[in-house]
C-alpha cells in the first residue's frame, strides 16, 4: 500500500467495470459489510459468552475493546521507537493488547460483578454501566481526549492486488483474523475440558457446582476469553481506521450488543451470524439507500427480526428467570 497509494484503476479492469457494474458494486458492498460484521461479531461474542453464563449484559465490554486499541497503540509506539519491523510490531502489540484487556476483563468481573452475584439483576446492570463510564473517563484523564493516530502496521500483501476494489489488505486481515478467532473459540468450547465446564455452567450453574466445577473460575475465564476477543477487534479496527480515541468503544459496543441480541444472546454461532447480518445490512443500506439511515435501518432490522423471532435468529426460546 505504501508503494502506490494513488494508483488509478488498472487498465484491465475498466471493461469489467462497465459491464458488470452492478454485480461488482453488490460484491463490493457485501465484502465491506463482511469486514464490518466480523468486527461486530468479535465483540458480540464477549457479550454473548458472559450472558450465557451469568445472564448479565456487560455494558463495559465496548470499553474493553477501546482499551485493547489503546494498549496496542502504546506498545506499538514503544516498539516503533526501538526499531522493530512493522509486521512484528503488529503481532506483539496485538498480543499485549489481548493480555492486557483480558486482565482488565478479569478485574472488572472481580470488582464490579462478583460482589453483586446474589443481588437483584438490575444491580449488576447498573454496575456495568458505571464501569463503562468509569473506564471511558479513566482513559480520557490518563491519556487524552484527542484522537491519536494509530501507526500503519499492516503488511502490503501484494497478492491482494487483483481484488483490491473488493478487499484491501486490512479488510483481508480483519476477515482472516476474526474467522480464525471464531474457529478457535468454537474448538475451545467444544473440545476442551474448560470449554465443557463453561457449557455446563451456562446450562445450570448449581448443577455444575454440585459436580465439582469451580463456577467462579469459569466465570473469570469467560470474561478473560470475551475480553481477549474484544481486544483483538480493537487492534484490528484501530489499524484499519488509523486512529484511536477514548470514546470509540461506545458505538462499537452498542452495535455489537445489537448483533448479539439479533443472533440470539447466549448463543455463540448466533453472535457470529448476528454480527455478519448487521454488518452486511448496514453496508447495503449505505450503498443502496443512504448513509443517513445506516444506524436507523440496523435497529429497524433488529426490531423486525425480534418480532418474528423474539429470541434472535439462532436463540433458543427459554423461560426467563427473573
Amino acid at each position: 500500500m505504501a508503494s502506490a497509494p494513488f494508483c488509478p484503476l488498472r487498465p484491465g479492469r475498466t471493461a469489467a467495470h462497465k459491464n458488470g457494474m452492478d454485480v461488482q458494486y453488490f460484491i463490493e458492498l457485501f465484502f465491506s459489510g463482511l469486514t464490518r460484521g466480523s468486527i461486530y461479531a468479535l465483540i458480540a461474542l464477549g457479550y454473548t459468552l458472559v450472558y450465557g453464563i451469568i445472564e448479565l449484559i456487560n455494558f463495559a465490554h465496548g470499553e474493553i475493546y477501546m482499551l485493547g486499541a489503546f494498549t496496542a497503540l502504546l506498545v506499538a509506539g514503544v516498539l516503533g521507537i526501538m526499531g522493530f519491523p512493522a509486521g512484528g510490531i503488529l503481532v506483539v502489540a496485538a498480543l499485549a493488547a489481548i493480555i492486557w484487556s483480558a486482565a482488565y476483563g478479569f478485574t472488572l468481573e472481580k470488582v464490579a460483578y462478583k460482589p453483586l452475584r446474589g443481588a437483584p439483576r438490575l444491580s449488576p446492570l447498573i454496575s456495568a454501566i458505571g464501569m463503562s463510564i468509569f473506564l471511558q473517563n479513566y482513559v480520557l484523564l490518563a491519556q487524552t481526549s484527542e484522537y491519536l493516530p494509530f501507526p500503519r502496521l499492516l503488511p502490503d500483501m501484494e497478492f491482494l492486488d487483483y481484488i483490491d476494489n473488493i478487499m484491501g489488505p486490512s479488510d483481508f486481515l480483519i476477515l482472516v483474523c476474526s474467522m480464525l478467532a471464531m474457529v478457535a473459540l468454537t474448538l475451545f468450547i467444544r473440545y476442551t475440558k474448560m470449554g465443557k465446564a463453561m457449557r455446563a455452567t451456562a446450562q445450570n450453574r448449581k448443577m455444575a457446582l454440585l459436580l465439582g466445577i469451580n463456577a467462579d473460575r469459569i466465570i473469570s475465564l469467560t470474561f478473560i476469553v470475551g475480553s481477549a476477543l474484544a481486544a483483538l477487534g480493537g487492534v484490528l479496527i484501530a489499524s484499519h481506521m488509523g486512529q484511536v480515541n477514548f470514546s470509540i468503544g461506545f458505538l462499537a459496543g452498542l452495535k455489537a450488543f445489537t448483533a448479539a441480541v439479533l443472533g440470539g444472546i447466549g448463543s455463540i454461532p448466533g453472535a457470529v451470524v448476528g454480527g455478519l447480518v448487521l454488518g452486511i445490512a448496514e453496508s447495503f443500506t449505505t450503498g443502496y439507500i443512504s448513509g443517513n439511515y445506516e444506524d436507523a435501518l440496523a435497529f429497524a432490522l433488529l426490531i423486525f427480526i425480534l418480532i418474528f423471532r423474539p429470541d434472535g435468529i439462532l436463540g433458543k426460546a427459554k423461560v426467563q428467570k427473573v
Binding site: L29, P149, G242
Partner: protein, 376 residues
C-alpha cells in the same frame, strides 16, 4: 491595652479589605469561555489574549484615565453553565463581554446579555444564525461564520477546479451538515450536478461502504463537512480503496493532527481557513507577547480574541464611555488595526475585513493558495 491593639488590628484589616472596593474606578471587561474542562484548549488562548491586551492598555495608563480590569467567567463550553456565567458577568457590571467562545453557550447566554443591553463579541462562535438572523443586535464576532467558508470553497470548486459533478458527505452535525448544504446550494445554482449527498457516522468502525458508493458516483470533487478525526478516517479509507477524488473541507479539517493522522494520504486535500496574516506587524507583536508571557505558541482563536479585545477597548476610547448604544455605533463605524488586518463590523455584526483562503496539502503541509475572499 490588649483589647485596644486587637481593635486597631481589626480596623486596619477592614480598611485593607475595603481598599480595592473603594478604588472602584476601573473599566471591567468580561471574558466568557471554556477555561477548564475538556474543551479548555479552545478557551484558554482567548483568556490569554484578553490578559495581554488589557495589560498593554494598562501599561499605557489605561483607557480614559481608568485602569481596565478583566473579569473571567468559565462556562466550559456548556450551555447550562453559560447562563450562570453570563448572569455573574452582568451582576459584576462589566462594560462589554469578549466571548462566549462556543456557539452553543453563545446561543444560551445571548438572551441574558440582551436584556442587560450588553455587547458581546465572540472570537470563535461560527454558527451563521447568530448574526445572520438579525435577532441579536448587541452580538458581534471577529471570526468568519460558516457560510462564508462555503462561499469561498464553492467558488474554488466552480472556478478553479471547474468541477461538473460534486459529492457531499457530512457528519450530521450542525457545523458539518451546514457546510455541505451551503456548498450544495451555491453549486447547484451554478448548474453543477450533485451526485451524492449524505451523512457518515463519525464513530463507525468502517467507512468502506460509503467510499465504494463514492467511487461509483464518479465525482470530480468531494465536499466534506465535519471535523478532522472523521475527515482523516475518510481520506485514509478513500486512498486505501484507490479513490483519488480530491476532498474539500472546512476549517475544522485544517489541523496539524490531520496531517499527522493521514500522512501521505493527505496530499492534495483542500480546506478553507482564515487568510495567513502572520506578516502583519500587529500579528507579530501579539505572538511575541504571548510567547514571552506564557512560554508557548498561541493556541486556537487567540488572534480572533486579541482582535475582539482591541475592538472593545478602542470603542470605549472613541465613544468616551461605556454606554452601549455609543459603543455599538463606534464598533460599527471605526476600523481597528488587529493581528487579522483592519477590521470593522457590518450591519449584522460580522467582522468586515477578515480574509479567507483555500489551503492545499503539499509535501505534508497546508499551503495557502491565492484563492482568497475578503468579507464585508
Amino acid at each position: 491595652m490588649k483589647k485596644g491593639i486587637s481593635w486597631l488590628a481589626a480596623a486596619l484589616l477592614t480598611t485593607a479589605l475595603a481598599a480595592p472596593a473603594l478604588a472602584e474606578d476601573t473599566i471591567k471587561i468580561g471574558v466568557q469561555g471554556a477555561h477548564s474542562g475538556d474543551l479548555a484548549s479552545y478557551g484558554v488562548p482567548s483568556l490569554n489574549a484578553a490578559k495581554l491586551v488589557i495589560e498593554e492598555a494598562n501599561a499605557k495608563g489605561g483607557i480614559l484615565g481608568k485602569k481596565v480590569e478583566l473579569v473571567a467567567q468559565d462556562d466550559q463550553c456548556k450551555p447550562e453553565l453559560a447562563t450562570n456565567a453570563a448572569t455573574k458577568l452582568i451582576s459584576d457590571g462589566v462594560a462589554a463581554v469578549m466571548g462566549p467562545i462556543c456557539s452553543g453557550p453563545t446561543n444560551a447566554a445571548l438572551p441574558m446579555f440582551e436584556s442587560a443591553k450588553l455587547i458581546s463579541i465572540s472570537p470563535t462562535a461560527t454558527t451563521p444564525a447568530l448574526t445572520l438572523e438579525g435577532k441579536h443586535p448587541y452580538f458581534l464576532r471577529t471570526v468568519a461564520h460558516d457560510n462564508a467558508q462555503a462561499e469561498l470553497t464553492s467558488s474554488y470548486i466552480k472556478d478553479v477546479m471547474k468541477a461538473k459533478k460534486v459529492a457531499y458527505l457530512h457528519d450530521n452535525g450542525e457545523y458539518g451538515k451546514g457546510f455541505a448544504t451551503q456548498n450544495r446550494n451555491i453549486l447547484e445554482k451554478a448548474g453543477i450536478e450533485t451526485v451524492l449527498f449524505e451523512a457518515v457516522t463519525p464513530d463507525a468502525v468502517d467507512f468502506s461502504s460509503v467510499v465504494r458508493k463514492l467511487r461509483r458516483a464518479k465525482a470530480d470533487v468531494l465536499v466534506f463537512g465535519g471535523y478532522q478525526p472523521t475527515a482523516s478516517k475518510l481520506v485514509q479509507q478513500m486512498r486505501r480503496d484507490r479513490v483519488d477524488t480530491p476532498l474539500m473541507g472546512p476549517d475544522g479539517v485544517k489541523d496539524e493532527t490531520f496531517l499527522k493522522m493521514t500522512g501521505k494520504d493527505s496530499e492534495g486535500v483542500l480546506a478553507s481557513y482564515p487568510k495567513d496574516t502572520s506578516s502583519l506587524e500587529m500579528y507579530k507583536k501579539a505572538r511575541e507577547a504571548h510567547v514571552k508571557q506564557f512560554g508557548t505558541e498561541p493556541g486556537f482563536g487567540f488572534y480572533n480574541a486579541y482582535a475582539a479585545m482591541q475592538a472593545i477597548l478602542k470603542a470605549i476610547e472613541t465613544s468616551g464611555g461605556t454606554d452601549t448604544a455609543k459603543l455599538l455605533e463606534a464598533l460599527k463605524s471605526n476600523e481597528v488595526e488587529t493581528p487579522l488586518g483592519k477590521l470593522s463590523f457590518n450591519k449584522s455584526g460580522d467582522a468586515a475585513g477578515l480574509g479567507l483562503s483555500v489551503y492545499v496539502v503539499k509535501g505534508g503541509k497546508f499551503v495557502e493558495t491565492d484563492h482568497t475572499i475578503t468579507l464585508h
